[in-house]
């Protein structure tokens, strides 16, 4: 094969690869990223029932219902609106009423069915790996929800 043709082959393969990767990335960016919404967003916007997202806010006082363990029901509020949440599983140890949390899941008939709940952890400084690990174990530190009210 002539040198010119060889170079062309390599370039074609590289472009093909790039094309495939770009297509995958663009599709993924559309379908596979998880957005963050506050209870107000949920009540005012039309978020579809099969769209996975994160709901953040405070656990409303007096709303925690553990009568159907291991499924827990509680309401999340941002001061303006509240959303009913149902979660089956082990709640993070710092979960309590009045605590900031982020729940990840989908809406079903107006109720948010969560498969992951992270509770806000009040620690001044912690190494990002630990913050990361805490996040994974169900506790989370960050200012996602408090920002939301003003940032929108």
């Amino acid at each position: 094969m002539k040198r010119k043709h060889k170079r062309l082959t390599f370039v074609m393969i590289a472009l093909l690869l790039l094309g495939v990767a770009t297509a995958l990335v663009l599709t993924a960016l559309e379908d596979d990223i998880t957005f963050f919404h506050s209870p107000t967003d949920v009540k005012t916007k039309d978020i579809g029932e099969d769209k996975r997202f994160r709901l953040g806010g405070l656990v409303e006082e007096g709303s925690v219902d553990k009568s159907a363990q291991p499924t827990v029901a509680f309401r999340v509020t941002d001061g303006a609106e509240t959303v009913q949440v149902k979660f089956t599983g082990q709640l993070p140890d710092l979960f309590r009423e009045g605590q900031g949390i982020i729940a990840e899941g989908k809406l079903a008939s107006g109720i948010f069915i969560a498969d992951e709940v992270l509770a806000k952890h009040d620690e001044n400084y912690m190494p990002p790996e630990v913050a990361d690990a805490l996040k994974k174990s169900g506790q989370w530190q960050g200012d996602g929800d408090s920002d939301k009210e003003t940032a929108k």
Partner: protein
Amino acid sequence: MMTAELGHFALILALMVGIVQAIVPIVGAHRNDAAWMALGGPAAMAQLLAVSVSFGCLMYAYMTSDFSLVNVANNSNSLQPMLYKITGTWGNHEGSMLLWVLILALYGGAVAAFGRNLPPTLRARVLSIQSLIAVGFYLFILLTSNPFERGLPAPIDGRDLNPLLQDPGLAFHPPFLYLGYVGFSIAYSFAIAALIEGRVDAAWARWVRPWTLAAWTFLTVGIGLGSWWAYYELGWGGWWFWDPVENASFLPWLAGTALLHSAVVVEKRDALKGWTVLLAVIAFSLSLLGTFIVRSGVITSVHSFAADPERGVFILALLLIVAGGSFALFAWRGPQLKSGSLFQPVSREGALLLNNLLMATATAVVMLGTLYPLFVDAMGLGKVSVGPPFYNRVFIPLMVPVVIAMGIGPMLSWKRADLGPIMARFKFVYVLVIGAGLIAWYSHAQGPILAPIGVGLAAWLFFATLFELSERIKLFRAPLSTSLRRAVNLPRAQWGMTFAHAGLAVAILGMIGASVWKVESIQVMKPGDSVAVAGYDFTFVGARKGRGPNYWVTTGAFNVTKDGEGVATLYPEQRNYFVQKMPTTEAGIETLAAGDLYATIGDEDNTKGEGAFVTRIYFNPLVVWLWGGLTLMVIGGLISLSDRRHRVGAPKRHAQKASPQQAEA
């Protein structure tokens, strides 16, 4: 005790030596002044000594619980077991940065000690560049992250090491991780030195190889430890979450793997020089990027970073200088690197080039996913999170051709190869692959169809790798004694490749099992209750309260039986640490070849009965194969490292000695 001040002073001393080492040898190389160039070696050793003293002083402060140091007061406690007092030295930001520079100095000293056969100009340049990086980090520590700050009056007791870090897996994770991605600094220094010199050749590739191998091997261990920790600590059997912090270590690993393979082509065929030099720069730049992501607070949220940007901005500046400067240098001097031989697309070089392309694309895609949320947040476009759905869709499809090519590549000859006949020789392997896929499909007929396909791919890689080995030692084609003799005389790098590639195949099998075929069951159980999961019966015996060295603990007990036969007893724990009042969950795990029996206990729930607890029970198939596969990969790396050709010392360049005006342009 004055040890803290001694440690602080030693660090400043290291900085001074570092500045000298960063300037004198490289100027000496330019002016061909032997005395100036020779300064590099002793200077590197002096730096290593100074940093070791500094680190030792910090560790001493931890071991003696010297709470007058702010760092120790924030991260230790007198009740802590001694092991965690020691590992607490690096279990915090300032201490871990000191570990970073210690390892940087260690590698610099190693090059000085073992690189005596390098041409003086190259050696001088490498040591200078290494020192330049060190100076950047010494300044970072001394100006923004000083572990030796005193806080007076000293508190009576410390705030305790974060309970999540009081664990053997996570305690040793940073040293291995740093030995890994700080190790890529050597490949980087060699690359920059080569660009300055204007020459990359087979000898250069042979010198770079052991350092890259060592870094890659350690990084694999570090990532594996982190994953293993996540698996047993976080309570639901997950082992990889595509979190920014995990990705921060995975990105240099991907680039490092590509670098390792690309360097082989430079060494054997004098080609792919530009790629290799670029990959060395990229691998280390990604290490710095990772450090930036993890240390700047930017992942918690861009806003918290903006609130205290001092550290983040410093590292970002370092990253931009290193990466930007290197790419500029590459653009300027890259064309000087003339390629040696030509090769056909279908050849071993072609396969390795394809590997470079695929790995580079995969790296770019993971980087995109990691940085995208930061970008969106910084632009004020809201908060998004990019997690497993994104990476599963994007990363896995890119890895499929890699796995396929890994089976074929080693069978291809250099320069040009005939694909047809080679693919035909795999007949027996194809049968095994289809068999494996069918077994996987039969055992989990309700599972996703992609799982048996994945198992088939893993089987392909495994058997193709073994097949290549058997061809090379002429197994079944020559007398057994001949085969054995050939096996023993195979170069270690060959064995290393076999172990590493086969190890990856085994690990992939573990990954599929642990992710796709996992069985979960969450319920409230009273003592005596039983639940069936994946054919095993888990009976909750009860829970008992107790006390550890620095925590309260509730320990549960599960009897696990299968068809009435006892299999194991699991003891999950819920710990509550005194000082930080933080709870942690320790899972009860029994590892079987087919999978892990895994149980945790949660909240007590007396409404359901006396002594009832929320319990989570899992069967995680094939997890041990994941750790086993990673171990095989590490063994492969170590076998390659032990190659005699590396130990006899760096080979001398054949043609000429470092001649005066030759390389300067």
